[in-house]
């Protein structure tokens, strides 16, 4: 080793490499900055223009009135979206977290492999196909009609693989040294799980849940097939009552030749963006509150 370092030829080569390394670093830095701008720029532009248009014609009645033809407010869509998202968060959340837990703790065998593959295949199915399957199976075959239940179930199928995967990964990333330390203290498995493993995995699980919820908030295609649309307040019923939701308002009102309708479209888009920002903030707060003593901060 020492010999090669002293070799003048090698020293030269090393010097050359160092200069080249510097210019490579500079190029990478420029490329990275450009990609950052390429991502952040459009995001800011979209958010800015949506908010600008929303604010220009904003009426608070948008939040308090239901829709009326091409006018009125967005209360029915806001409540509908909240109900759909709550349903997905509860059903897909519990299914996904339990599956992810199963896969990480007992998923080494054949069953785990089969489940994991099935989940990956499911995650790859386009959402509009899921929507169509939901339409054929739930809306038509089970006679649920366009309904809250059909919408929630289809979105659930869509995001469960995602939640399961992030849960499994987060649990597997909990350092084995924590578990062994706890085992060596004679802690029960349930205690180890609650006090140490879940707590450590929580940021990952939360992030997965939030992103899944954000997907559910932002989906349109599968809901068109399953939840339908309605301008009245959603009924407290899982079946037979179509539900309005914000993404429908964005898409539908934007294509109308009416200024009030287009204003509603921007209002709905603005509200969606605010909802997603709130979700992200919420996940950050949860992470910050639970990870005060984390090793990996």
């Amino acid at each position: 080793m020492a010999q090669t370092t002293l070799d003048p030829l090698n020293t030269n080569l090393l010097g050359g490499t160092s200069a080249r390394r510097k210019s490579t670093a500079a190029i990478i830095w420029v490329l990275a900055s450009l990609s950052l701008v390429a991502i952040v720029g459009p995001a800011i532009w979209i958010i800015g223009s949506v908010f600008g248009k929303m604010m220009k014609g904003w009426h608070w009645s948008v939040l308090t009135e239901v829709g009326a033809g091409l006018g009125g407010g967005l209360l029915n869509e806001i409540i509908g979206t909240l109900m759909i998202v709550a349903g997905v968060a509860i059903i897909a959340g519990s299914m996904g977290i339990l599956s992810g837990f199963f896969l990480s703790e007992y998923g080494d065998g054949l069953l785990g492999g089969v489940l994991r593959t099935a989940s990956e295949v499911l995650a790859g199915v386009p959402s509009i196909v899921l929507g169509y399957v939901g339409y054929v199976a739930l809306v038509v075959h089970f006679h649920w009609g366009y309904s809250l239940g059909a919408g929630i179930l289809v979105l659930t199928v869509m995001v469960v693989p995602y939640i399961a995967k992030t849960t499994e990964i987060s649990l597997k990333q909990v350092p084995i040294a924590y578990r062994e330390g706890a085992e060596a203290l004679g802690m029960k498995n349930s205690q180890i799980l609650r006090r140490i493993v879940l707590k450590t995995a929580l940021p990952g699980i939360t992030t997965g849940m939030i992103i899944a919820t954000a997907i559910a908030v932002g989906e349109t295609a599968p809901l068109l097939y399953t939840a339908g649309y309605s301008q009245s307040l959603p009924a407290l019923s899982f079946t037979h009552h179509p539900v309005g939701y914000l993404t429908y308002a964005v898409w539908n009102f934007y294509n109308q030749p009416s200024v009030t309708a287009q204003q509603l479209s921007f209002d709905a888009a603005g509200i969606l963006i605010i909802a997603i920002i709130l979700l992200i903030v919420l996940s950050r707060v949860i992470v910050a509150m639970t990870q005060k003593h984390s090793e990996f901060r």
């Binding site: 330390g181 706890a182 060596a184 004679g186 090793e295």
Partner: protein, 277 residues
């Protein structure tokens, strides 16, 4: 103070020297292994180990890397039970009873036989919560006593002054040596009879090493120590007896002085004189 076993005459530690005529009552042995063979899958890691640990003694396990010291140590509180592919024949007795006997509660066993790892592994909770994690899990003390216990154990390991003002902070901002002392305080808090230490100081600076060694000496003979170490000087400084593991065998076992100054086997001689990894 929490009771930690009985007092023991230090002289009797040397009694187990191979070839010694001294007789020890079986009850003086807190842990002993009977024809213990361990392996993973098809591979045997160590075979046929008969090794006894007198109550209150400090035993050093030495030997080259890969000679099975960790595997042996982890078997003593059944940490290997659920490791994939782990195989075992033979037995381990704790207070003359098999640790796999149906009468033995695994969690209670681990409370009696604690463990400290090579890399300090505090839990992701506050310093104070770390110390009392085991106490809470075993429901040893009332809620109102927990703070007091944390303080007592932190004082015991000499960490109190350093952490007094940051009991609610993360343990990961402590130095490596302090983290290891914290883990020791956590292990002590549940009142173990035996502590298994796997190279507990290999990642520490000399000052921390000295702190840990002094602590081991001061906690003995109330606690029986079984210490894996690559640090031969450390083995000489702190242990009564030394076991030399080599190529899957317990090559030699006896009083530390004997092993280091007048070993019976040429392999031991080569290892302790530093002529072998």
């Amino acid at each position: 103070m929490i009771q930690q076993g009985e007092h023991v005459n230090v002289q009797s530690f040397d009694a187990l020297a191979s070839g010694s005529d001294n007789h020890l009552e079986p009850t003086d042995l807190i842990v002993s292994t009977k024809e213990l063979s361990l392996g993973f899958g098809q591979k045997t890691v160590i075979a046929d180990i008969d090794l006894s640990f007198p109550r209150g003694s400090i035993t050093a396990l030495i030997g080259p890397s890969g000679s099975g010291k960790t595997t042996f140590l982890r078997t003593l509180n059944r940490m290997n039970d659920n490791v994939k592919g782990f195989t075992r024949t033979g037995d381990v007795l704790f207070n003359s009873e098999s640790i796999w006997s149906p009468n033995i509660d695994l969690l209670a066993l681990r409370r009696r036989v604690g463990m400290l790892f090579q890399r300090a592994n505090p839990f992701p909770m506050s310093i104070e919560q770390n110390v009392i994690a085991g106490v809470k899990a075993h429901n040893i003390a009332k809620k109102s006593q927990l703070k007091q216990i944390a303080k007592m154990r932190l004082e015991e390991v000499g960490l109190w002054q350093a952490v007094e003002t940051r009991l609610h902070d993360s343990p990961f901002r402590l130095s490596g040596g302090q983290q290891q002392l914290l883990c020791l305080a956590r292990a002590l808090a549940i009142g173990p009879d035996v502590l298994l230490l796997d190279e507990p100081t290999s990642a520490l600076d000399p000052t921390s090493i000295e702190a840990v060694e002094n602590l081991i000496l001061s906690l003995s003979p109330a606690i029986t120590f079984i210490v894996v170490t690559h640090n031969l000087a450390q083995a000489r400084r702190i242990s009564h007896n030394t076991a030399f593991f080599f190529e899957g065998q317990l090559t030699e076992y006896g009083p530390t002085k004997h092993i280091f100054e007048d070993p019976s086997r040429p392999e031991t001689q080569r290892y302790v004189s530093g002529r072998m990894g």
